[in-house]
Subunit: 414 residues, 2 copies
């Protein structure tokens, strides 16, 4: 019997308790002994829970219990999660977490402590919910040099964008629907501004390239400015707009990393990932593109990933899993202004023909996107690939010529 | 330093040698010691290979070399692979293989020997080439009860079907193109008749449900009878025809397993998996649907999966990986005639209206598939769901009424 503690009894935490209870036999067969929930930390009372006798409000009770070898952290946020997790690891307890904020902010430090203490710090559930991604990247792709990781990493924004694309809803209505259906929080900022996706691509980048990438290193744009007009122009360009987290290694070894809405071609494996689903593409030098798809959030998908990590901890109580990266600085990352991209640009101008010629003069070989159902003063085009800062300068030139730039979205060739 | 031997220096074997050589540093960082190719078994001569001095024609040299702890089997076929692998495992050497025929035919026995000898028998590369699937299923989904596994498991047939769908090529021309491009063998039977896909779904079914499913238990249909007409009717039904290997667990615990071409809706995550790519959907009770996508074959993708297994063996030279299933019989599997399905049926009849009424009378609530560009004597419909044997009886009734059934393809609700 292996004793575990669960810190937090919210959506994911109660799911973890549920799976460990309902899948008892399956888990026993996998690890050869019982996984026993000895303590559950939560400030609230759960008198009707079948595990009511295991609840505690005292973290110290868990920390000081030498029988508890594995601690599950599913509280979310970094305070007090960071402090608690650090103390558990320092006490030699393995920790499993679904907390992407914690891993994105403190992963390198916590991994280093785990290594020193010869215990495990695992976080499969922190990215992609129930989709196996951390472990396959770490193990199955060990014989690959990863060149790029890109994905739809946030189900809330993907749900909103899908509703805009398939039902022609505008952003505000789609967000409200997502909130009504429970896919979006009342305060949706972390999702719609891209912060959640940013934490996840930071974790994947750190894992793929071996050095911690902190969220503040990553240029992050959300989807609040996406207009229905852009969605329709994307359709005419055989593309869809998705919020993409992407990191690629450049030839000089530096990383080009960003979170931003992108127009990706319908032929991309990420284009058909709709609604609350997530999809992650890992490009290896040997495997080529491998894509993982599934529900990126939700009680049981996320909890099942946590439990899989718990199982892995049970199997590796003595031998440590090799999951590690070192600390990193922003010297390893190019400024987003230097990142090469081509850009979709939608403009408004009294004289369309003159404006188009002007755009061609400024940007070079642009591709016009044709649509019948737009007013005579609006058109859109795609620029050649160039540094983002050059695009910004050229957009300024357009504006100087009284050509009003209504929106710009990066082209993602995924 | 860990010494390994590679048996077979064909496409995959030479890829394994190449990756171990070119990714030396990355592998060293993963396992903390050098992976050294001590012997390569092949009857042919490779005087120009940088590893020329490691080649041997004698299996006994490998078997008797106690320094060789891990043996890679990439010869293909079961003779002599089965004999060699068994002897290696009995000698306590861990074995990694990409050989699906070997695993599908002898997996249970070889896993039992590995367990007894406390060594590993791993075969990530046997299904899905470079796509991580065996390990994620075994580990990440450990907290799930798997209900269904379905996939496009053969790149050759998927390439042919994609060419039929997107370019309107007929089967023979698409096959010839696949052969010219090296995607299909000169003797394409194992691919086009579904035997290769069958071996792979057997491996996945054995892993998911814990008992060995032998290929001879599985009703297998290939794609040689698929006509362009059917491809077009599928399009009108918002579907595509794919060769699907599928296994699901019924309520009584028995398995419903089949390999057959199916019409799957365009909205399915498997519908957009085209050309030589593979995709595998695993439906878990907690995760919901998880899909894995990538190149299902090819030198480096497959070899990278083999090397990942080698790395896992190196890390687990003392502690065995828990990957196991027991022997199985066909009592665990329902006859394919009892499997419930709805069916696309294309018929020819002098009097279309009468024939349609007759079909409705026989099958009940059928759905007609409308197309403008067919001759007046041909139509197609989809039946309600019923046992396959009932569909066959009803088709006989149609034929008795001089309604000529030209083709039938299962509907796959994936």
């Amino acid at each position: 019997m292996v004793s575990v503690a669960i810190m937090g009894h919210g959506v994911v935490g109660s799911g973890v308790a549920e799976i460990i209870t309902t899948h008892k036999n399956k888990l026993f067969n996998s690890v050869g002994e019982e996984i026993y929930i000895k303590k559950i930390l939560d400030l609230r009372e759960f008198p009707d829970s079948p595990l009511a006798d295991r609840f505690t409000k005292s973290f110290d009770e868990i920390l000081s219990d030498r029988e508890i070898r594995i601690v599950v952290e599913v509280m979310g946020g970094t305070n007090p999660a960071y402090d608690y997790v650090k103390k558990c690891l320092l006490a030699g307890k393995s920790v499993v977490t679904s907390n992407k904020e914690l891993v994105a902010k403190h992963g390198a430090e916590l991994l280093a402590i785990a290594k020193e203490q010869n215990c495990n710090f695992l976080f499969e559930a922190s990215v992609g919910g129930g989709i196996p991604i951390i472990r396959p990247m770490n193990q199955c792709l060990v014989a690959n040099i990863v060149d790029e990781v890109a994905g739809i990493l946030n189900g809330t924004t993907n749900f909103i964008l899908t509703k805009m694309i398939t039902d022609g809803m505008n952003f505000d209505d789609a967000l409200k629907l997502a909130q009504d259906l429970g896919f979006a929080e009342r305060n949706p900022e972390a999702d719609v501004e891209g912060h959640d996706a940013c934490r996840k691509i930071c974790i994947l980048a750190s894992l793929a390239f071996g050095k911690h990438v902190y969220p503040e290193f990553v240029h992050t744009e959300g989807i609040t400015k996406i207009a229905l007009e852009d969605v329709k122009f994307a359709e005419s360009y055989n593309s869809v707009i998705k919020l993409i987290g992407r990191v690629k290694r450049l030839e000089d070894g530096k990383l080009d990393i960003i979170v931003a809405p992108m127009m990706i071609p319908n032929s991309s494996q990420l284009a058909n990932i709709d609604y609350e689903f997530n999809g992650i593409m890992v490009r290896g030098d040997c495997t080529g593109d491998v894509v993982f798809y599934g529900k990126g959030a939700g009680k049981l998908p996320t909890a099942s990933a946590v439990v899989a990590d718990v199982v892995d901890c049970v199997k590796h109580l003595k031998t440590r899993k090799y999951l590690f990266w070192t600390d990193g600085t922003d010297e390893n990352i190019i400024p987003y202004t230097q990142s090469q991209t081509s850009m979709y640009i939608r403009v408004k101008s009294q004289n369309k023909d003159v404006a188009y010629s002007k755009a061609e003069e400024i940007f070079g070989n642009i591709k016009s996107i044709e649509r019948d159902d737009v007013t005579n003063d609006v058109f859109a085009f795609v620029t050649p690939e160039m540094a983002y800062e050059d695009i910004e300068k050229k957009i300024q030139l357009l504006e100087n010529d009284n050509i009003n730039v209504l929106s710009q979205i990066r082209i993602g060739n995924l």
